[in-house]
């Protein structure tokens, strides 16, 4: 078996403010193989964004190593695509120019790749539209296409559909699965939504807060596309929920001891 694409060993990170220091991540160990779809779930403030931002190179870990294809991560770059919760498009550029960004659409290979991506994220007919004319879901698809054009080794998504309504979110999840099947891009997606974690992930990582630690992981052995109403799907939901209850009990135990 080949080495993992992403290797995280004993990663720690704390933030220091004037008065105190918050340990955001403690002892994180995570290997992600090429082509995997890892979902990360955990309560607010457990360090999910911090973990993703460290992998992206937007933030630095304090101790421990983070390697992509065997190389330590030195900073952000196009090999690590990042999708933020908001689409963050350039408002003065049309959809196709947002996707191309610093690449010239006059180059035939860029042109054809952008056209292909517009089809892949189902935005035909909107190539010349400005971001203000798009719905939240459409804008987020532009952001995904922008990242994919750079052929990232890994695509990091930080609650990408958190701001969307339930129907749009379900649609976006399907679009993302299509992309994953079509391109085979390795993905790590952070979410609050148990259904989303089970629906998308080939593996679910469960994080607990204060300090942020990996509490458990669940390999989801269901074939895609998954049926949310199926019993097997519900089984996995229960397993994730049970992990959360264990976290809650631990949290209660700790604070109870403090009183």
């Amino acid at each position: 078996m080949s080495a993992a694409l992403l290797e995280i060993e004993n990663l720690n990170k704390s933030f220091r403010t004037d008065s105190k220091s918050v340990q955001a991540l403690r002892g994180i160990e995570l290997d992600v193989r090429e082509g995997e779809f890892v979902t990360v779930i955990g309560p607010s403030g457990c360090g999910k964004s911090t973990l993703l931002r460290i992998i992206a190179g937007l933030e630095r870990g304090e101790t421990g190593t983070v390697k992509l294809s065997g190389e330590p991560i030195r900073g952000p770059g196009i090999d690590k695509g990042f999708i933020f919760q908001e689409p963050r498009l350039f408002p003065w550029l049309t959809v196709e120019k947002n996707i191309a960004a610093d690449l010239s659409l006059r180059k035939p290979e860029v042109r054809s790749k952008v056209d292909e991506l517009i089809r892949l994220v189902k935005l035909e007919g909107f190539a010349k539209a400005y971001p203000r004319e798009l719905s939240g879901g459409m804008a987020q698809r532009v952001a995904i296409a922008r990242a994919l054009l750079r052929k990232p080794k890994i695509l990091l998504l930080d609650e990408p559909f958190g701001a969307l309504d339930a129907f749009t979110r379900a649609h976006m999840q399907e679009v993302l699965l299509d992309i994953w099947k079509h391109n085979g891009t390795t993905m790590i997606l952070v979410t609050h939504d148990i259904d989303e974690a089970v629906f998308l992930g080939s593996r679910i990582m469960i994080l607990k807060p204060r300090p942020g630690e990996i509490r458990g992981q669940i390999a989801v052995e269901l074939s895609y596309p998954r049926k949310k109403a199926s019993t097997a799907f519900q089984e996995y939901r229960y397993r994730v929920l049970r992990e959360f209850e264990r976290i809650d009990e631990l949290a209660w135990g700790e604070s109870g001891a403090g009183i």
Partner: protein, 279 residues
């Protein structure tokens, strides 16, 4: 549930004409209507003015009637005095505005981009900005004489500040979240400047240009009236000395028109450059 009752009912009043055609005509009609409504008051004032003048109810010296002003305008045009004065004034404004606004843009960008330059310059510039504009006119005449230089410098001084301030603000208001995006996209510092900061600054710059232009015209009038031997302002001062009020009115009308025209030009540019913002 009946399948028919849930079908949406459309109002059929416009059903026969094609939608875009109908919309375009409606928009044109509305625009024409708005324009006519806007003209109502000025036209009424002009008609009353002419009528009172003809009836001898207002002093022809203080308020020459519109027809007299028009005749005086035609006379100025025929003798070529108008063209010459207008040319001189336009050249001064262009030079002064170009110098002041250009510097405002460059310094505004530099101060916006670098905290060190900001600390070095901004407080001094803010102090200079508080000097009342008109009060330095005499000083400029003393320093630079009554030739072109003093006028161009006064216009430049006036045009500098709005563009400086709004360029600076434009740079600083660049969405911080987009800075993270360009880091992830691997932009160099130069690319970040050209592809993120500059486009994000355009709205501020356009606003700055509009305000700078307005000040440029005021500065032109002031400088030409304080000491000058040519230009529209001089024409007006000269006419005033001769009690030729109609020419003063022609001057006022022309300055108003010039200000409005250049402002419209900037608004047009703004619409084209900032189409992405929508209306």
């Amino acid at each position: 549930m009946s399948s028919h009752s849930s079908a949406p009912r459309r109002t059929s009043k416009w059903a026969h004409s094609p939608p875009e055609h109908r919309n375009r005509r409606a928009v044109l009609l509305r625009r024409a209507g708005d324009a006519l409504l806007g003209l109502l008051l000025p036209v009424a004032v002009l008609v009353l003015w002419q009528w009172f003048g003809d009836a001898g109810r207002i002093s022809p010296l203080l308020f020459p009637t519109p027809s007299v002003i028009w005749a005086s305008f035609l006379w100025l045009l025929e003798t070529g005095m108008l063209g010459e004065s207008l040319g001189v004034s336009l050249a001064r404004t262009a030079a002064g505005f170009g110098l002041g606004a250009g510097l405002g843009l460059v310094v505004g960008l530099a101060v916006g981009l670098s905290r060190v330059i900001e600390r070095l310059l901004d407080s001094s510039v803010q102090m200079l900005r508080m000097i009342p504009h008109i009060s330095v006119t005499f000083l400029f005449v003393l320093w630079f004489g009554i030739g072109e230089t003093s006028k161009i410098m006064l216009i430049a001084k006036g045009s500098f500040f709005p563009l400086y301030i709004y360029t600076f603000l434009g740079v600083r208001n660049t969405d911080n979240k987009l800075f993270e995006v360009v880091r992830v996209l691997g932009y160099s510092r130069f690319k970040t400047l050209v592809r993120l900061v500059l486009p994000a600054t355009v709205p501020g710059v356009m606003l700055g240009i509009r305000l700078s232009l307005a000040i440029a015209w005021v500065s032109l009038v002031v400088s030409e009236m304080m000491g000058s031997t040519s230009g529209l302002g001089y024409l007006m001062m000269d006419a005033r000395a001769m009690s030729d009020t109609p020419i003063v009115f022609v001057g006022i009308a022309l300055f108003t028109l010039l200000g409005k025209l250049t402002d419209m030009l900037v608004v047009y540019m703004e619409r084209r450059l900032l189409a992405w913002r929508g209306s």
